[in-house]
Subunit: 306 residues, 2 copies
């Protein structure tokens, strides 16, 4: 699937329908949380790779995509980045779409370099991700190179709009005068324009938006404001967003958004309620199934399972 | 120098005084621009490493710091990132400070992971950079982890305020209502507060700001608005900013800012006026000396050379 040049909005929508859930699993490896059996016989970068591949084995048949968090791999230096590359290729081989969560952003030819790095899905592409998270602060001409490369390769970008952290109020919620709107609304309008410029058959574009699960009211308002933009919704689970909170981020068919859970799933074996489960992978599988069930029960994503 | 736990603002100020110039050289390797002798006998990542090390050899005695642009290395995949690590270590060994231009930004423990990745200057640190460029869009709690790690390790961050591209108008120049100020001014006020919280003997903090050379008026105004913030000023040379344009970004002693030139120096051998120079490194050396001279002639940086 991930080698098709098809439109990203369509590919992601098809994957959501195929797996019958908008849940995606965040790969955020942290040394202190790894199972002892993985920590005991490997260097850190190797352990991250082994762990993430094991998570992929558990979730590959359950969810449409995984979202590797680049920061945790970069923290190990170049060796960690090599592991990240291996994890990404493994996810593709298992039929999963990849959302590289690296929040890149730059200008001109530098932005093009980032875009080609992650979104060139040709055989020559070094990373061949299906999509990448992008930061909008540098402005319209910093997003265009990402859109161009994404369109060329049937890849996608998810641009930060309203992030899940409390500090998103510092700048994102400040109100402009002309027209009167908040920064994140201004970004949202820009993203809707970019997405609409290259719509797929699904009705969604290659340009998505990051909107945190921790802002249920904004999710509802932004869903209306960006009808052609797929949402990447972080903050579900460990960060405090409930399945009911994310409901507003999906369209009437349970589409138009993916909901990320990281720690709540990949470190499920640390959760008190799963203490009696012997094999850590079984806890991960159960947590994934439970998250899928919760989301289906509290949102239009339930329609995907009928 | 780069293994000292001392304050970054002080270390950078000392390096500027020692080299008697605020010029820093951007390491932006691009395959098509490399000298033929480097392209002919190496893989791309190896060629990038060889080229950047050769640039470092030329400029190490001339400038206080180099600024590797992570995007161009990431574009080569994990092998490129390995090369980036080698280039960074080589710069340190040659006594240069490093400004990793990666424009990272994230929240909570993920921001901490990025900060530790690049700014942990202990022997265990994977990258051991002296400073890192950071994107402010995610808000105050996304900057705090970078500040904390920077303070701990005598490292610094340069946060995007007013970037050099035309598209910086899209969001950065929009005006908020309460108080009436532009987004980049709002960011600037926040950075001044962060810098002032941990001032060095130089009068500058560990928190810097990126302000483009292409906005001379804003440079003057922001210099007053952020008296304790060191500026990283890109856009000089190839992007159109002149030595006169950047003058307002420095304080009355020629300190408080570093001025980056990338293409104009590292690919100087492609400039028509240097066509007659046989050895490409000689063109790089001459372009560096000329940029240092231009900056000294048109700004308070001239005082550093008396």
């Amino acid at each position: 699937m991930s080698n098709s040049p098809k439109h990203f909005g369509d590919r992601l929508t098809a994957a959501i329908k195929s797996k019958r859930t908008p849940l995606v699993v965040g790969l955020d490896p942290r040394w202190n949380n790894l199972p002892d059996e993985i920590k005991s016989n490997a260097k850190q970068a190797e352990a991250f790779e082994t762990f993430c591949k094991a998570i992929i084995d558990v979730v590959a048949d359950k969810v449409p995509a995984v979202k590797p968090q680049s920061a945790f791999f970069e923290q190990l230096g170049p060796a960690g980045v090599v592991a990240l590359g291996n994890v990404t290729q493994y996810a593709h081989a298992k039929g999963l779409l990849t959302i590289m969560d690296a929040k890149r952003g730059d200008i001109g030819s530098t932005a093009t370099a980032y875009a080609k790095a992650y979104l060139d899905r040709s055989d020559d592409g070094p990373w061949r991700c299906d999509s990448l998270t992008v930061n909008p602060y540098l402005g319209d001409d910093s997003l265009t190179p990402f859109c161009d490369v994404a369109d060329e390769h049937g890849a996608g970008i998810f641009v930060l709009a309203k992030t899940s952290n409390p500090g998103s109020k510092t700048f994102q919620e400040k109100t402009f005068t002309d027209p009167p709107q908040k920064l994140f609304e201004c970004v949202a309008d820009h993203l809707q324009g970019l997405a609409a410029a290259n719509l797929g058959e699904s009705g969604y574009g290659n340009v998505g938006a990051v909107v945190g699960a921790t802002w249920p009211e904004e999710l509802v308002a932004l869903r209306k404001r960006m009808p052609n933009v797929i949402f990447l919704i972080p903050g579900f689970g460990a960060q405090g967003g409930s399945a009911a909170d994310i409901a507003g981020g999906l369209d009437e068919n349970g589409l138009g958004g993916v909901i990320n859970s990281s720690r709540g799933i990949i470190f499920a074996y640390e959760r008190p309620e799963f203490e009696s489960i012997v094999k850590w992978q079984d806890a991960v599988a159960l947590a994934t199934d439970m998250a899928i069930g919760e989301i289906a029960a509290h949102s239009t994503a339930g329609k995907l399972r009928r």
